[in-house]
Amino acid sequence: MTTLAKPYEEKRIRPGWQLTERQAKRIEKILGYATLVAVAMLFVLPLYWMLATALKTPEQTFALPPQWIPNPVEWQNFPEVFAEVPFGRFIVNSFILVALNVVGQVFAVSLVAYGFARLRFPGRSVLFLLMLATLMIPYHVTLVPRFILFSKLGWINTYLPLVIPAFMGSSFLIFLVRQYMMSIPYDLDEAAYIDGANWFDVFRHVILPLSRPALVLVVVFTFVEVWNDFLQPLIYLNDPNLFTVSLGLSFFQGTRETNWNLLMAGSLMVTIPPLLLFFFAQRQLIGGISIEGLKG
């Protein structure tokens, strides 16, 4: 056995100019790192430029050629943003909306996902397919009639249009959590039923605790989505006191078109929370995205 060499292990005769395998591997590695670093610089540049501009005085901002490193560093831009527009208000507003949406989504998504994953009822498959179909329908079809509905209800310029739908659960998140719950062994449910548990007990004490990783994903997705949303606040909110960070930033752009250092300071502050969340929840997030990749 051992004396038989596999065909692909046979040594090929190399012309003198050809690299040995080790040299080739090494060059490949160096090239790999070089490309990675070059591309990474391209991807980081906008964020760096946001940071650099946020720390510049107006003179430095409009210096020619542009200054790569702000010197001296102007920390004053951040308090100035708060003085120019009610930016603190916007941040608080966004956090309120995020919190309400997270509560709504976690509540609704876990209940509905459990219903679809574990309970048998007539029409379950049809309803589940309908839910998946709503993912394929672009949201703008319902944009106008929803606006009409909410304005007839007197909800314009309130947070209700931005919060109430969260308590109905997002189809995508329900799908995600349902898939996760399907992977939990049914034996656990059965053991609980034998102990006299009812459906809600099983949900509350068996499935819900075990679904935590999926629910973390729900929290992260909801946070990023609500924090970053622009179109819906734009449509439903007119009162600057109710503005969210994204809307406030665009409002700020409209009033202070030329103060790029301040605009970048504002943008930076809006970018930091989702970025931090991303760093903390990176593993779940990227794992969840590969689940998302399977949904087609």
């Binding site: 990474a40 991807f43 665009s250 970025l275």
Partner: protein
């Protein structure tokens, strides 16, 4: 063999316990069910009916038959412009998204130490709020003080007035969108990692080179992912709103060169409050997206390779 469970079993066939279970099931899914009826099916029907009316939200809608649709197709220059802008953007952006997405995924798929750091860096822009992302690019693309033209200047290229000249608005928006390509790269990466290593080993034994391996193994094995991403990307292109609103301007920028369909719909519906007209625009877009999606789906059997197809044919 898995027996096929009929997807609908009549209520009368159920035992008492199964009925109880069914009631519990409906209660558990009721939040979604209510939302589906109130915020989805209801609005869709309302939108369809409204598209045949003229209504500016106060007063009663006036039934005008197909007039909105006729007007849109025969005498609405901005509609034609917005369709042209959106389609042009789709043709520029989508192929680049696939190429850059796969390229970046291949970079991320290298077995090198510290690759995790690079993956994080590539994915990061995807998490940046769209408004902030668009703003920083508006600033970087500034004709005089922008860093993009400075870098181009190093290569003795005089950069254009990116967002100020109609010819470059869509190019600028493509750049902004490609900055976030890490989002789809992660999905391509998952696709790449699902390709069994033995395929490449077998190809090596047969003496295949890198290009051959890429064309004969990677691309076919990745085609379901590409297909999925193209469909999603297409829907995304037609829904582009925020970057266009921030970077090109609420009314579509110079000579309306950035008048995306959604921007136009927003202008019609929420700025001038023409609800009937905007509903008609929304329906036209929806039907268009459905047609294109079905066309991509139909074409997929010619270029998408599914592992399961073979086993199904036996």
């Amino acid at each position: 063999m898995i027996s096929r469970v009929p997807y609908f079993r009549a209520w009368a066939d159920l035992t008492a316990t199964r009925r109880k279970e069914a009631i519990a099931g409906y209660l558990f899914i009721s939040p979604w069910l209510i939302g589906f009826l109130v915020f989805f099916i209801g609005p869709i029907i309302a939108s369809f009916v409204l598209s045949f009316t003229q209504w500016n939200i106060v007063g009663t809608p006036e039934w005008i038959g197909f007039k909105n649709y006729v007007d849109i197709f025969t005498s609405d220059a901005r509609f034609a412009k917005s369709v042209q802008v959106t389609l042009t953007y789709a043709v520029i952006y989508l192929p680049l998204e696939v190429i850059c997405g796969i390229g970046l995924a291949a970079l991320m798929n290298q077995k090198l130490r510290g690759i995790g750091v690079f993956r994080t860096l590539f994915y990061m822009p995807y998490v940046v709020p769209q408004v902030a992302a668009a703003l920083v690019w508006v600033w970087m693309l500034n004709a005089r003080y922008g860093v993009v033209n400075t870098v181009l200047g190093w290569a003795s290229v005089t950069g254009p007035n990116w967002l100020g000249s109609p010819a470059y608005v869509l190019t600028s928006l493509t750049m902004i969108a490609l900055w976030g390509v890490g989002g789809s790269s992660v999905i391509y990466l998952a696709g790449l990692q699902n390709i069994p290593e033995v395929f490449y080993e077998a190809a090596t034994v047969d003496g295949a080179n890198r290009v051959q391996k890429f064309l004969r193994i990677t691309l076919p094995m990745l085609s379901p992912t590409i297909f999925f991403q193209v469909v999603l990307g297409l829907i995304g292109v037609f829904q582009t709103f925020t970057p266009a609103y921030i970077a090109a301007g609420a009314t579509g920028g110079p000579l309306q060169s950035g008048l995306f369909y959604m921007l136009y719909l927003y202008n019609r519906g929420f700025e001038t409050l023409r609800m009937g007209y905007a509903s008609a625009l929304a329906w036209i877009l929806t039907i268009f997206i459905l047609i294109v999606t079905v066309m991509v789906l139909r074409s997929s059997r010619y270029w998408v390779y599914y592992e399961t197809d073979r086993s199904a044919n036996r």
